[in-house]
């Protein structure tokens, strides 16, 4: 089974060979490295840019204005902050020009904790990103969705911010991308660049079948009746794990992978919360003005009379950064244990 890194590569291979993408670019994105997380290895349309994030986003906007379909990468979302006004422009150009200039472009960037990244390789960006109207924001948590969402992002006529969780980049998926070789060793030998003699290497891409994930559709990963848990990215698999463990103790928990934040799947969420009457939102962005707070507000408005317990958000603590020492990082963003405790408490809280 593919990893997220491999899924990105395979989606971009399709994008450059079948979907009209002519430019995949960013810092160290082209040969020889193919991206610091190897997500762009083996591609033919990938190229290295100057170390200039504003230049990268500006290039993408300019290409999109000229009707191209650029895919740009910001190496770590920790370094996307100086481009925020360009992201604003990417988001508002269609509106300001009264529809004349929709910008078809994808910006990829890895987010979050989980690699001992300390202060500047651990940031989340989704809450800020969702504050930029006109962008679409997606954030998959597994390779299959990564593939399907990236294909949809490339095809979308609007600017899409494609975030992906660093902590899970190398984790193998549990579901096959249709057509991929089942043996991970085979896939690796075909599409992972060798450490040495890269110059003469070229990948042997598997023939994948069509697979797309519609932007705006969440995925229901576990069905349950007594609690709805909504998450995405690094914390999502932890929520699934916690729900499975609590099931053995008799708790029936529904787990939703939101996958896309703008637009997000309101109907799936409301249906679930109206059924279970309890809701926990889990993510690792800092808790103040967190995207989860928006979800809570909307859930309150649409599901208030169905709620049996106060709806809850479990998020990252509101500190200026993530500390390097594991004792710090573990205490700053939700971990399996804290997630499980919150779930259990909510399930056991009497209505």
């Amino acid at each position: 089974m593919a990893s997220i890194a491999q899924a990105i590569r395979m989606a971009l291979h399709k994008a450059e060979t079948q979907l009209g993408v002519e430019d995949i670019f960013g810092e160290d994105v082209g040969p020889p490295l193919g991206g610091v997380f190897t997500c762009t290895q083996g591609l033919t349309k990938s190229w290295n840019t100057p170390l200039d994030e504003r230049g990268i986003i500006g290039m993408a906007i300019g290409l999109a204005m000229a009707g191209q379909k650029p895919v740009a990468e910001i190496q770590f979302c920790d370094y996307i902050f100086n481009t925020i006004d360009l992201l604003k422009l990417a988001g508002n150009t269609c509106w300001s020009s009264h529809g004349q200039f929709p910008l078809q472009m994808v910006i990829m960037s890895p987010v979050g904790t989980g690699i001992h990244g300390s202060i500047y390789h651990s940031h989340s960006f989704e809450s800020m990103a969702t504050h930029i109207p006109g962008l679409k924001v997606v954030l998959p948590s597994n390779p299959l969705d990564t593939y399907g969402l990236l294909i949809s992002a490339v095809k979308d006529p609007n600017p899409v911010l494609f975030l992906y969780p660093k902590a899970l980049i190398r984790v193998q998926g549990s579901e096959k991308i249709p057509g991929e070789p089942l043996d991970p060793k085979e896939l690796s030998s075909r599409i992972d660049a060798p450490i040495e003699n890269r110059k003469s290497w070229s990948p042997d891409w598997p023939m994948l079948e069509e697979h797309e994930v519609e932007i705006g559709k969440a995925s229901l990963l576990r069905k349950g009746s007594s609690l709805t848990v909504i998450s995405y990215a690094r914390t999502l698999p932890l929520c699934v794990q916690a729900a499975d463990q609590l099931k053995t103790q008799g708790h029936s928990i529904e787990v939703i992978d939101l996958r896309t934040l703008i637009p997000w799947d309101e109907s799936l969420v409301y249906k679930s919360v109206q059924k279970t009457g309890r809701v926990l939102i889990v993510n690792e962005d800092t808790e103040v003005t967190n995207f989860g707070e928006h979800l809570l507000r909307k859930i309150n408005e649409h599901c208030f009379y169905f709620l049996q317990t106060p709806p809850k958000l479990l998020a990252g603590v509101n500190t200026p950064g993530i500390g390097l020492a594991w004792t710090l990082e573990q205490s700053q963003v939700p971990q399996l244990q804290s997630i499980q405790e919150h779930m259990k408490n909510l399930c056991e809280l009497s209505a």
Binding site: E22, G55, M59, L86, C94, H98, Q100, P102, G134, K136
Partner: protein
Amino acid sequence: MGLTKIDLEKIYRLMIKARVLETRLIKMSKSDDGYFWIGGPGEEAFNVPLGLLIQKGEGLDYDYCHFHYRASACLLAMGSPMIDSIRQMANRSSDPFSGGRNFVSHYAIKEWNIMPVTSPIEVQYVMAPGTAWAQKKHNANGITIVTGGDAGTAEGDFASCLQWSSRPNMELPILIIVTNNHYGISTPFDQVHGDSVIAKRAESFGIKWSTVNGNDPIASYKKLEEAMNYVRSEKKPFCLEAYVSRLHGHSSSSGGNRVENEIDCIEEFEGILIKEQILSEKDCVELKETYEKEALDALKQVREEPFPLADTVFQHIYKETK
């Protein structure tokens, strides 16, 4: 000098037209007809030749224009009617650039490759390499033109433009223009800049550069033609700095009144044309009156046009799918 009498007369006519338009827009900002004004009175001698030399059209084979908000004379020279600027000033739904959403001089014309003019200073300089790269890749006939003010060149985006335009073996067909009026809003250029010739910065990137007296339409035309021919034929960047006047201050926020002690390119050019007997004083007065009438008639018409409906704010957030 390469330009015929007819050319000179045409340039003069467009300069007058642009000045009359701006004067009308300023009046509107001081009345109930509009709010904020910003524009280009004082830059006509440079902007009219620029507009005339642009290969206008849609797509890679035509020139992409990433303009500053003082480009009204370019737009008129390209054939944009006065009334459209008046519509934007009056924020009517008929404003073809933004549907009543944006300030005046914030043009956007898809069919002419006029990229949306933005309020954030200097961002056009990081976007322009994108259209230029698309043209380079496709070996297209068009070039990319970007314009902006002097103060804004302190932003990193200006350096980014030079950097991205001059990558080895990937030099871009881009004309990088700075219209230097010697001020930001109120801050004089030399109070906060250690360098004196902005275009010279291009030299360290291996980019050809030059300066021109932007108050002289003939010199501007020649220099622009040379620079554009170079960019078109060599498919390489060129940086041109034009020294221009700012005749009504920064914008309506500083009053929008006519200032003293700045050269007026129209007065100067008019003097030459009269002396050379290309036009008479009477011709000049009549021309001005004709355009004044056109602008006033346009305003009267625009006053009758509707404002955008409130619920249209939700249109065009994303590309509309029919």
